[in-house]
Symmetry: C2
Subunit: 309 residues, 2 copies
């Protein structure tokens, strides 16, 4: 069963699924964004390639990345931790040290959660943030002429995962990008502020947790226009090219968990952004996605997409 | 490792753990309450004694019960569902029908979540609600002279669980109370409104998810006064006495998952409550819990407390 099938069931079954679809749900009444993400041992991580401190930091950052993608300042998290009975006391202590390290960086408060038993380690975090300003953010907001841009390199996390699965520990930069990703909290704030200052009312943005290709596909089909992408302008870590001379292009496009921001923004606002931190990779064309093109794209996408499930 | 040890580690490790301790965290800035609870296959439920629809309803109600205990009206949930690869499509459909059934009853919106793979079924729900009014609710708010009261019978859920584990399907009322508990959303609203109308500023309240004895222990040690409880006044389903003539008193006090409210409220407010729906079981004495008494209580409690972990 594919994730899309699940989403169809959910949309069909719930009377009101209007808040489902973006990285976060926006609770208009409170001007808050909310998101929940779960990491499962054996699916999202292995305990022999990470440690409790690192794992906690990643778990928090995965959720902060969703808030960043929604243009929201992180304020609170709740955390549910399920642990096997035989788990070491140090694991729990180091895990919470990792949580503290991740939340204290941004002044986020831990607002409860729970602890349960389980056969494996299972971490589910709910994060709440407040929109930086009135600029609307969604996956469907791109318009013809917008600049398509990224906050950083892609493929390195997937490269790191591949190295770990081969028992390798170098290049360290790739391993680190996989085990210890940083949510783009600061850059989200800058994008939102710049859009606001330029009187841009809407931007399209999401994070690249499921891969750059996935994000571009969703943003493009979300607005209904084809994207003109200059592949050579996509930033990439040299270490990825060196470690994976054959596969780096595939990892770059279809590897996941880089947790960078992928966004489409009016040219006027993009021009104000620091080009050493925000990378233009293309423009939104004025060619609509016809039904035929959509079918081809959908097929291609189904074949390539990085799947967690 | 005991839950208390975990909580000590958490409190020691996080710089700010001020929002941790009650059923919900209260986010003062937004007047919102937030809670997260997780149900794990093999720990909290077995797939051969429940079905997806029932399981979903229980999962939602477990969280709504925490909001009820905080005196908050439920508004939103996020839901993270982790499923084994081979799970039936009907399971997902019936699960979301159960979610819809539970949330539509109170006009709650599902504000996203995620779906992941896992080896077992894991359900983690975060629920957000808004305080009904300015009456402060916490586990530590009881004062000498307060009435100690309940919203319903206890022990039946634990009795139902015991019957299920013995392969029995009757008495149905006990089974149903275990598999399909209802959060006391309406009664929470009435308690909060009555307190407000009587100008009572603070009440002590929690739910009995971990057992009546656990709730009374926490409320008593929370305020520092001994409770005078009239055991015979605790409401109990006759079916529990009949099915468990030897054990019903133990199940009543130490069985968990009844998801009723246990509260201590000023006499003036209790008098206004409908006595056919709210049951007085005792009063908060003016005898402080001395260190010696605390030690004895603690030991007794440790021996009896129903443990999920």
């Amino acid at each position: 069963m594919k994730e899309l099938e699940y989403l169809n069931i959910i949309n069909k079954t719930l009377t009101d699924s209007s808040l489902i679809g973006d990285d976060c749900a926006y609770l208009e009444e409170f001007d808050l964004c909310i998101t929940q993400d779960t990491l499962v041992e054996g699916v999202h991580f292995l305990l022999n390639t990470t440690d409790a401190f690192t794992l906690a930091q990643k778990s928090v950052n995965v959720n902060l990345s969703d808030l960043a993608a929604a243009g929201a300042k992180p304020l609170y998290i709740t955390l549910s931790l399920s642990l096997p009975k035989n788990i070491d006391k140090n694991f729990v202590e180091n895990f919470y040290k990792g949580v503290e390290s991740a939340v204290s960086k941004y002044g986020i408060k831990v607002a409860g959660g729970d602890l349960t038993g389980a056969d494996r380690v299972y971490i589910s975090i709910c994060a709440i943030g407040k929109k930086y300003n009135s600029v609307q953010v969604s996956r469907t907001n791109a318009k013809a002429g917008d600049i398509i841009a990224l906050t950083g390199t892609h493929g390195s996390s997937a490269g790191g995962l591949k190295l770990l699965s081969q028992g390798k520990k170098e290049p360290e930069i790739l391993i680190k990008k996989h085990l210890l990703p940083s949510a783009q909290v600061e850059k989200s704030k800058i994008i939102m502020q710049t859009a606001f200052d330029c009187n841009v009312k809407n931007i399209a943005m999401m994070d690249s947790s499921d891969g750059l290709g996935d994000a571009l596909y969703k943003l493009s089909t979300g607005c209904g226009y084809l994207f003109d992408i200059d592949f050579d302008s996509i930033p990439v870590d040299e270490e990825l090219k060196t470690a994976f001379p054959e596969e780096w292009k595939d990892l770059l496009m279809w590897g996941g968990e880089d947790f960078e921001l992928v966004f489409c923004i009016d040219k006027s606002a993009f021009e104000k952004l620091d080009k050493t931190k925000f990378y233009k990779i293309g423009t939104v064309s004025d060619k609509p996605i016809t039904k035929d093109i959509a079918n081809v794209l959908n097929q291609e996408f189904e074949n390539k997409i990085f799947k967690h499930f």
